[in-house]
């Protein structure tokens, strides 16, 4: 009863009549009315929505609440909502948001304006014993502001709950109903035609096990193309680094699918697009590298001793300059005829329906059989190459294993819809642990090399140069120590991955199923 109650007013109840009716029994005083602007925020990939969180401003305050709940989790004073979580003022809200949103930009989803009229219900001492808010909500910015919801809020006052209980009874008698299951954000999204949760870079491709392999592969590639096209337009606005990142992953996955799902398309088509997508991938290599270094700026600085922290600054200044050059290059390259033609040709190729008369060896195979074969083969390959590393410790071989594992991961994700979800999740969890180990190792190698390269090429004025080089040297040392630790963990991580139970698990999931199908 302590919580605020929300009644739906959309049934045509008028504020004046309700107040008049209540005034026969209670002393009611109008306190104020005003308009408030509410703006709702989320990231492009709906990270807050996926966690059932709603972030919105009302006046100069920023609030966080659970979806479908009215009670607030956090709220702070704020004039302008920062685009990135790292720019939020220190505090609990930032601590809560940062792990969820990470490096993604907050985007204004919708702006509403709500007209609030506040009435106080008074007792004989003229003490407020309950409050009534009438709230009418419109879509802002629309030329013809349309009312999308109207509510009457009953706010009880502590120690005077009887009044609120009686008022609730009265309101229900006059035909009002409590609104429990509507969230303003969902209503606004419906009106504006936005679909919360509609974009995710995760692969969730519905496949039918009996589909011919050619058709299934095209379904996967069409899904990836959609991600490419969605992000490609947003890269230019440069709101955050993840549009480019998602774009690049989709390109890499496309290349991986073309390379690994063999003999489902004509040879020359596959070869042509492999070349084309390799070309597209290369366009943004520099930009992504620079993004990664800049995203890690704070982490790098925290690795350095205090005396050297400012000395690393010239490196990041230089990177920022280089990044804006690379960014302009990427934006231009995505508008070139060559790029546009590749995407156009690719799309029309993917839209050609499957022909039963296709001559490629695997084109007509049920996709589940083909998928099981290539996933299992790739798993064997990873095992073999990992076992060799246990005996011999060359960095180059770790790198190769990383690529093999990445290919395996992509395959499992492409075809995850064909297998029991829980089992696939378990597999991916296992694989991810190994990939994280390998990935971290590789990142550190690359960073080390990059810093050495920069030490040779960074344009420095003589006064800064020595300290900056010292700082970079210190960073390399720290990275190297980390690298050794990760390297040490490899055998344990790999042994988990290649354990007999896990091997059996792969066999059950992919080989036995296949045998059943063939017999």
């Amino acid at each position: 009863m302590r919580n605020n109650l929300k009644f739906n007013l959309s049934g045509g109840h008028s504020e004046r009549e309700l107040i008049r009716a209540l005034a026969q029994q209670y002393t009611i005083k109008k306190q104020s009315d005003g308009t408030e602007r509410h703006a709702f925020y989320d990231t492009f990939d709906w990270r807050l929505f996926n966690k059932s969180l709603v972030l919105f401003t009302s006046g100069n305050r920023l609030y966080l609440r659970k979806l479908y709940k009215n009670s607030l989790i956090e709220n702070i004073d704020i004039k302008v909502v920062p685009v990135l979580a790292k720019d939020f003022p220190k505090g609990r809200l930032k601590d809560r948001l940062l792990p969820i949103i990470n490096m993604r930009a907050l985007i204004e989803l919708v702006v509403l304006s709500s007209r609030l009229t506040l009435y106080q219900v008074l007792n004989q001492d003229e003490k407020t014993v309950a409050r009534l808010f009438f709230e009418k909500i419109h879509l802002s910015n629309a030329g013809n502001p349309k009312e999308i919801a109207a509510y009457l809020w009953l706010k009880p006052v502590k120690g005077y709950l009887k009044y609120s209980q009686n008022l609730t009874k009265r309101l229900e008698e006059s035909g009002l109903t409590l609104e429990r299951n509507a969230d303003l954000l969902s209503i606004a999204m419906q009106v504006t035609g936005q679909k919360p949760g509609s974009y995710s870079a995760k692969l969730n491709i519905p496949l039918n096990p009996e589909m011919p392999a050619n058709e299934a592969t095209k379904t996967i590639l069409r899904f990836l193309l959609q991600i490419i096209k969605t992000n490609e337009v947003a890269i230019e606005h440069d709101r955050d680094t993840e549009f480019l990142h998602d774009f690049r992953i989709a390109i890499r996955r496309t290349r991986s699918a073309l390379g690994q799902i063999k003999n489902v398309f004509p040879q020359e088509t596959t070869e042509r697009f492999k070349r084309d997508f390799a070309f597209i991938g290369k366009l943004s290599n520099d930009l992504r590298d620079q993004d990664v270094y800049l995203l890690n700026e704070a982490a790098y600085k925290s690795m350095l001793p205090l005396v050297l922290r400012d000395d690393i600054e010239p490196l990041f200044d230089y990177l920022k300059k280089e990044r804006s050059k690379s960014f302009r290059k990427v934006v231009t390259s995505l508008k070139t005829d060559r790029y546009r033609r590749i995407i156009r040709d690719w799309e029309s190729f993917l839209n050609v329906p499957y022909h039963a008369a296709a001559t490629e060896q695997n084109a007509g195979l049920p996709i589940i059989d083909l998928a099981s074969i290539i996933i299992y083969k790739q798993y064997r390959r990873a095992l073999k190459s990992g076992n060799r590393i246990l005996e011999n410790t060359e960095d180059e071989m770790l790198h190769r294993l990383r690529i093999t594992c990445k290919k395996l991961r992509y395959l499992i994700e492409f075809f995850s819809g064909l297998y029991p979800r829980k089992k696939i999740e378990r597999l991916i969890r296992q694989l991810k642990k190994l990939q994280d180990n390998l990935g971290d190792f590789n990142d550190l190698c690359v960073q080390e090399e990059y810093l050495l390269f920069m030490a040779q090429n960074l344009p420095l004025t003589s006064r800064q140069s020595k300290n900056t080089l010292v700082a970079m040297g210190s960073l390399i040392e720290k990275l190297n120590t980390k690298k050794q630790i990760i390297r040490k963990n490899f055998p344990k991580t790999f042994n988990n991955f290649s354990s007999p139970q896990n091997q059996q698990f792969f066999i059950e999931l992919f080989v036995l199923k296949l045998k059943k199908a063939l017999s």
Binding site: Q120, D125, E126, K127, T128, V157, K158, G159, Y160
Partner: protein, 250 residues
Amino acid sequence: MKTLAIYSNKGGVGKTAAAVNLSYIAAANGMKTLICDLDPQSSATYYFRVKPRIKAGVQGFLKGGKKVYKSVKGTDYENLDLLPADFSHRKLDVSFNRFKRSNNRLKKIIAPFKSEYDLIIFDCPASISTLAENILNTVDCTLVPLIPTPLSVRTHQQLLSFCNKRKFDLGRIYLFFSMVDGRKKVHHDLMTDIAGNFQGVLPVIIPYLSLIEKMGIYREPVAAFAPKSPATRAYGDLWHKLEEVLFFYS
């Protein structure tokens, strides 16, 4: 949670006016605040238009727990709740004495409020007694309004020597000047004197203003019905000084 007592062993020095306005200002600054009216005269309760009644009276109050918790009333202002006084509070002193370790009883009574409020302000009756000991034992900071007259100074010295005997931390007792009449030379002279001789004097002056007395007519804090008045400004200054004492030094 921080606790603050507005206390004086002399009556009519502006305790309640200070307690009511400080609690209002603290709440308006976003702090979840509870004002506890311990004075059987129940003036603070009256200012907030609440009936002076506690569930099960003084016995209920001393037992603590649910009965006290349920007696709390929301005021007309956001973030500000009130634990009303009850006429039976006149017996608080005698009743405290019945408990073993009676000096810690108040601490127990307010324990359930710890998680809910950022600040609890006690409006205390004028006396040196078991209740006063309880209060001095419980709170982070005691704020004494002092009218700059010789009699007030004498009463304050009594309080300090009482605290000394009972080994209370004098460093947690703060003073401010209350009901100051700017036209009186004696007020000016004594203020300089006091500031030199006593510890913990906050450099804030609450003038003698009829607007503050009008609180009894409007039944609202000055800060609510005359937000731009000099009285409100003075209480605002007092709050800022207290904020430093309560939240930055401790």
